[in-house]
């Protein structure tokens, strides 16, 4: 074995980690070779992130050993891991919101210095260089808190690339990225592989892992299941190992677009801060409308305005011909419920229980008693309906895996008896099984007459779920298409503004 190969060989042996009641990892093994892309596959909550965090020095295992180039090493801090060239992009965005982009890229290890201290010009230049590899051009001094989510994700990846890395850990780096951004990222990853870096990738998108990986390790319920080279792996191999019960693939619905009356009508809506302008469309009863577009098109802003959480400068919204109020409470009352795009920041309250999170949109006269019994009955029904995995209704929401948290948020919205349910990137970071379950839930709800608006950056998802497709480009509605009469090329063309 060549010397340089040896130096970045990593082995994790018999790793176990316990959080309170949850055994997140149990005797898991992972072996990384220099110059490979290694995918860790598994359902939500199977322990993928925990494994990466241990290798990244973020948390310490209860048991198990880490070997770097055959030497046993103990990682007590991120700094320790960095010493051995381990760099990590964590699943949760971890940028410093009020600092600039370039600064976030080089946070903690800025080497640009002149005789007056930090050389900001040089810092900007080097940051732009890395960002260019990822195909984005932004003002390097801009505060990251003003960036949309996908660009924040890219900044975070750029941060990892700014290190002299031997082992790169990427925990769901693509979940919020647009296809062209994923492409740019993969190009960089391939280059790193050429350079002998070991890259660990986590993603829930089957196509992505199959496209780029050289090796696969599958986890289930915190246990090591299997590992294999690319050659032995296909979609079925993965699904067999990741899940116990295969999700059923349901067919498209037959839905007559023009057949039913409009439930949601949007007329001339314009954002106060200018993210979109003059938007008009309708959603019919029992209809599922997909809202496609490139990241940054203004879809999130649009649906947040519909939900009454963002200010408009013009336009009106109607539900069943009655005008909808402009704050979130009245919007909810009129029947608009939104599942927002950022679970961590926008929808769950981490310190509260599942019960409180699920019942959060139930508003009675405020000092009214909440009947525990009645609430538990409601929760039980949702838990059964959506097969949410939890230890009990009073378990903290943060103890649930991402997919299960998302189901709780959807249940919260449905519990308000909405007339229109809006989902913004609702399956982001959700595993295959849960995704299929959510689609199934949505179809059943639509069949029962609920109008649904689905915002998604994944064209395949848009096509899988929608009856009709709206496309936004640069803050304007650029197309309104019947799913059965269109194709992906047409949607993409509308999204990039090519008429």
């Amino acid at each position: 074995m060549a010397l340089n190969t040896l130096t970045s060989d990593v082995e994790m042996r018999q790793i176990s980690k316990r959080f309170d009641a949850v055994q997140a990892l149990e005797n898991v093994n992972l072996e990384l070779r220099a110059g490979e892309v290694h995918t860790i596959a598994g359902e939500n909550g199977s322990g993928k992130s925990t494994l990466l965090k241990i290798l990244g020095g973020v948390i310490r295992p209860n048991k198990g050993k880490i070997f770097i180039a055959g030497q046993e090493r103990e990682f007590n801090s991120v700094r320790d891991a960095m010493k051995f060239g381990v760099t990590m992009v964590s699943q949760e965005l971890s940028l410093v919101p009020n600092l600039g982009i370039a600064e976030n890229v080089f946070i903690g290890h800025n080497q640009s210095k002149n005789k007056f201290g930090i050389d900001w010009k040089e810092t900007d230049r080097r940051a732009l260089e890395i960002l260019k590899r990822l195909n984005i051009s932004v003002d390097p001094r801009r505060e990251v808190s003003t960036l949309p989510q996908h660009e924040q994700q890219l900044v975070e990846i750029a941060r990892a690339l700014s290190f002299d890395t031997r082992v790169l850990l990427l925990d769901e780096p693509t979940s919020s990225l647009a296809p062209n951004e994923v492409e740019a990222l993969f190009k960089v990853v391939k280059q790193l592989r050429e350079d002998g870096v070991a890259v660990v990738l986590i993603t829930h998108r089957m196509s992505e892992m199959l496209e780029i990986s050289d090796r696969f390790t599958v986890l289930r319920d915190g246990k090591f299941i299997d590992t294999s080279d690319r050659a032995g792996v296909n979609e079925n191999w993965l699904i067999d190992r990741m899940v116990l019960n295969k999700p059923k693939q349901s067919a498209h619905r037959n839905f007559q677009v023009s057949a039913r009356r409009a439930v949601l009508e949007v007329k001339g809506l314009t954002d106060r801060a200018g993210a979109y302008s003059d938007i008009s469309f309708e959603v019919g009863e029992g209809e599922i409308v997909g809202l496609a577009g490139l990241a940054g098109a203004g879809r999130t802003e649009l649906v947040e305005t519909l939900a009454g959480i963002r200010q408009r400068s013009a336009g009106k919204v109607f539900i069943n011909s009655a005008e909808v109020g402009t704050n979130s409470r009245t919007a909810l009352k009129s029947g608009i419920a939104l599942v927002p795009d950022d679970r961590r920041e926008k929808s769950t309250i981490h310190e509260m229980s599942v019960r409180d999170n699920l019942m959060l949109s139930q508003h009675k006269f405020e000092v009214r008693h909440r009947s525990k019994k009645a609430e538990e009955k409601i929760i039980k029904s949702w838990v059964e309906k959506f097969s949410i995995k939890l230890s009990g209704p009073d378990a903290p929401i943060k103890s649930l895996s991402g997919g299960n948290q998302q189901k709780v948020v959807i249940a919260r919205c449905l519990q308000t008896n909405p007339k229109v349910l809006i989902l913004d990137e609702a399956t982001r970071g959700v595993d295959l099984g849960a995704k299929a379950e959510i689609y199934e839930i949505l179809r059943n709800l639509a069949d029962a007459g609920l109008s649904i608006l689905v915002v998604s950056s994944e064209i395949s998802e848009i096509f899988e779920i929608s009856d009709r497709i709206l496309v936004m480009h640069a803050g304007e509605l650029s197309a309104n298409l019947d799913r059965s009469k269109t194709n992906e090329a047409e949607v993409v063309a509308a999204a990039i503004g090519a008429k």
Binding site: I309, T348, E351
Partner: protein
């Protein structure tokens, strides 16, 4: 029958303070038997009642990720308002009117500026602290007014109701209601939600501004009651009452495990935290520790209390995984 102790990590955060309190009580029991006389225990309870009542209100505001520094001066303002009211109307009416006015005026100002307009709670309530202290001085020209409290006000602030100290009854009622409100009502849940994640709370249809406003109204309400209790205790309304009390109250609330960043905390913690501070002060006095040493020892015990909680988390191994936040 089996009784299972909760694991270290699932214990409430005020358990460290409680353990320290118990150690303190044991030390006192051994060294100063007089400490456990009925009258001394009653003294501790009586003198901690006012900070606890303020602390209950403070817990609401800190839970919403704010703070109310005005409580000490509002306590004085309430007493002085009462001294005016008792001359115009029967005492029990005066009590109700005073509390109502304090709640509306002070709660209204703090609540509107912080809740509705979203201004910085620290600066705003530091402002109202000055305003109501100044008004109290101006109205009374700095002098204490004797008040013939009558049985009602006296019982609330100082006397016994049956065999039980009146202030203790007030604390039990207020704490009981607050525990219920925070745990089992829609409003209580909204308080935690607003402090935990304001955007999510707003999206879920919670009127976050109104919830915060109400928190400051409740804090003013509690300060209003504390003001009446203070009058009962002094048989007088003093414009200097409660100077500097806000820091003690905040310290007690934080000792009880309520997070200054909002969303986490409990009334139980507040009661125990403030009871602890009062026990420390009483114990040191009974021990005959000089006042200069008292300040030093109290400072050390504050540190010990938070260190204790840290050690508990460290032992339970949860501390490491909590690094995230």
């Amino acid at each position: 029958m089996k009784f299972k102790l909760p694991s270290l990590s699932t214990m409430p955060p005020w358990i460290g303070v409680l353990v320290l309190e118990i150690i303190l009580l044991i030390v006192m029991a051994i060294t100063q038997p007089v400490f456990f006389s009925g009258s001394n225990l009653s003294n501790i309870i009586r003198s901690s009642a006012i900070p606890i009542v303020l602390g209950i209100g403070m817990t609401y505001t800190i839970l919403t990720a704010g703070i109310d520094l005005s409580v000490g001066s509002v306590l004085a303002f309430s007493g002085i308002l009462l001294s005016g009211m008792v001359e115009l109307m029967p005492r029990y009416v005066a009590v109700v009117v005073t509390i109502a006015l304090v709640t509306l005026i002070v709660g209204g100002i703090n609540g509107t500026l912080i809740g509705r307009l979203g201004l910085n709670s620290f600066v705003i309530t530091l402002g109202t602290l000055g305003i109501f202290r100044g008004i109290s001085y101006l109205v009374t020209n700095g002098t204490t007014r004797s008040i013939d409290t009558g049985p009602l006000i006296n019982k609330i602030g100082d006397g016994n109701i049956g065999p039980v100290p009146g202030p203790m009854i007030v604390v039990i009622i207020l704490a009981g209601i607050s525990i219920y409100v925070l745990r089992s009502t829609y409003f209580g849940r909204d308080v935690y939600a607003v402090g935990g994640n304001e955007f999510a709370a707003k999206l879920a249809g919670i009127y976050t501004g109104r919830v915060k406003m109400n928190a400051y109204m409740i804090s003013a309400f509690c300060a209003g009651i504390a003001g009446i209790m203070q009058v009962g205790r002094l048989s007088a309304a003093s414009p200097t009452a409660g100077v500097g009390l806000e820091l003690t109250v905040v310290a007690g609330v934080l000792l009880g495990g309520t997070r200054l960043s909002g969303g986490v905390g409990s009334i139980w913690g507040t009661v125990i935290g403030l009871l602890f501070l009062q026990t420390v002060s009483n114990s040191l006095t009974i021990q005959g520790v000089s006042s200069y040493w008292q300040q030093v020892v109290t400072g050390v015990l504050l540190g010990a209390a938070v260190l204790f909680d840290r050690i508990r988390l460290e032992l339970s191994g949860r501390a490491k995984s909590k690094e995230k936040k």
